[in-house]
């Protein structure tokens, strides 16, 4: 997974158009995010050819997260041509299947 931050977010996510971009917003203190992470890495192995996988540590990039209207963890966002196409807020994420279901929609 590509670690994105305030320095490369624009280039790697907002200006990237080759394929949809998935961003995993997580934080050091978010236990649920940390539990999900190995499974999200497995999703990258499975769908990485069709989707670009990124993760963003909100503990270190708070302003950027808030600018993306992320105020709760974990949050998963799909970007298409730099625009937010779908957002999973924490209440919509129970298991990794919820994340996989969103990703599948962008694999066509």
């Amino acid at each position: 997974m590509l670690e994105v931050n305030k320095d490369n977010f624009e280039v790697e996510v907002l200006n990237y158009t080759e394929k949809p971009v998935f961003v995993d917003y997580w934080g050091d203190k978010c236990q649920k995010c940390i539990e999900l992470m190995p499974d999200v890495h497995k999703l990258e192995e499975k769908y990485g050819d069709k989707i670009k996988f990124c993760s963003l540590n909100t503990s270190q990039n708070r302003r950027l997260a808030i600018a993306q209207k992320v105020l709760g963890l974990p949050t998963m966002i799909m970007y298409v041509n730099g625009e937010k196409a779908e957002t999973l807020t924490p209440d919509k994420i129970n298991t990794v299947e919820d994340i996989e279901n969103m990703i599948k929609k962008f694999c066509e």
């Binding site: 236990q31 649920k32 909100t58 503990s59 209207k69 709760g72 963890l73």
Partner: protein
């Protein structure tokens, strides 16, 4: 034929982990199934300073990680799966998960409880966008910002105190004129310069364009409406049992809490329950852990009598 466990425990919070520890120490073949994150609500609790022995490094995640390791050390096995259907009818219980089917001689239900919604307008729409139920998860965002906490119990006050490490101000909004939380917590809150109180008040609505900007408040005594500008609101107004799956299978009270006897037996033979999902007066990590121990020992006795004669 799939493997038959002695005990399958549904739920990996303090009740389930403690049951796993006791059962595996009794040399039983025991599996703990967790669908989401091990540790349950305790894993998202900032500090658990009321759990005996938990003085150094008493954060929720640290404590439950120690519980999990301890259970694992004695042979408890774990599975990440979500049970979607149960059949308690026969001697061998069948649990259908999303990934596989599990069979066991006894079952311990330790699915716990989850936060209850406060019920104000836009609460669901602004979840994860300023409305939160997990201070440890989301506190980081609010460094230097203003937040509110709804509730007056132990959880609300503990989490409000935790939030003062990040936020500029923490306003506790409570529908009564006094707190229900432990006196020691109240004292800390009253003495904390970052904490303010708004009494006799409920939240009617959350306002904001994509992210939370303010709360509309109503004083329950005077009916007066006011608005409070905040960047975040944390809701701690009580719990709801996670017992939907067992409706019609085991006896519950009208709120959905499972009824057990003192040995954590439900009305169904071979099915036990432990922790927050059980009807009782005190829902804490220590009572959950205690329930888990009692349930594991009762399950062991049941298995010995039923299957090992």
């Amino acid at each position: 034929m799939s493997h038959i466990y002695d005990i399958v425990i549904i739920g990996g919070g303090p009740a389930g982990l403690s049951a796993g520890l006791y059962a595996s120490r009794a040399k039983l073949d025991v599996l703990v199934i967790e669908k989401e994150k091990f540790g349950g609500q305790a894993a998202t609790t900032a500090e658990l300073e009321n759990y005996p022995g938990s003085i150094e490094n008493c954060t929720g995640p640290a404590l439950v990680e120690r519980m999990r390791k301890q259970a694992e050390e004695f042979g408890t096995t774990f599975s990440k799966d979500e049970i979607v259907e149960v059949d308690f009818f026969d001697d061998i219980k069948i649990l259908k998960g999303r990934k596989e089917e599990y069979r066991s001689k006894a079952v311990i239900i330790a699915t716990g409880a989850e936060y209850r919604l406060a019920g104000f307008k836009n609460e669901i729409e602004l979840r994860g966008r300023g409305v939160s139920y997990c201070a440890t998860c989301d506190a980081d965002f609010f460094e230097g910002l203003d937040v509110a906490v709804i509730g007056g119990g132990d959880s609300a006050i503990t989490e409000a105190l935790y939030l003062t490490k990040f936020a500029e101000t923490v306003t506790i909004i409570h529908r009564r004129d006094s707190l229900r939380a432990a006196k020691s917590l109240q004292e800390k809150a009253f003495n904390n310069p970052k904490i303010k109180f708004i009494w006799d008040t409920v939240v009617e609505e959350a306002k904001g364009d994509e992210i939370l900007e303010s709360l509309v408040l109503r004083n329950v005594k005077t009916g007066e409406i006011s608005e409070l500008a905040v960047n975040g609101v944390f809701v701690f107004v009580g719990l709801e049992p996670k017992s939907e799956l067992f409706k019609g299978k085991v006896e519950m009270d009208d709120r959905g809490y499972i009824l057990t006897d003192r040995n954590m037996k439900t009305n169904v033979e071979g099915v036990f329950a432990a922790g927050d999902v059980v009807q009782k007066s005190l829902r804490q990590v220590i009572t959950a852990a205690a329930d888990g121990a009692v349930a594991a020992v009762a399950a062991e006795e049941y298995i010995n009598e039923k299957f090992n004669k």
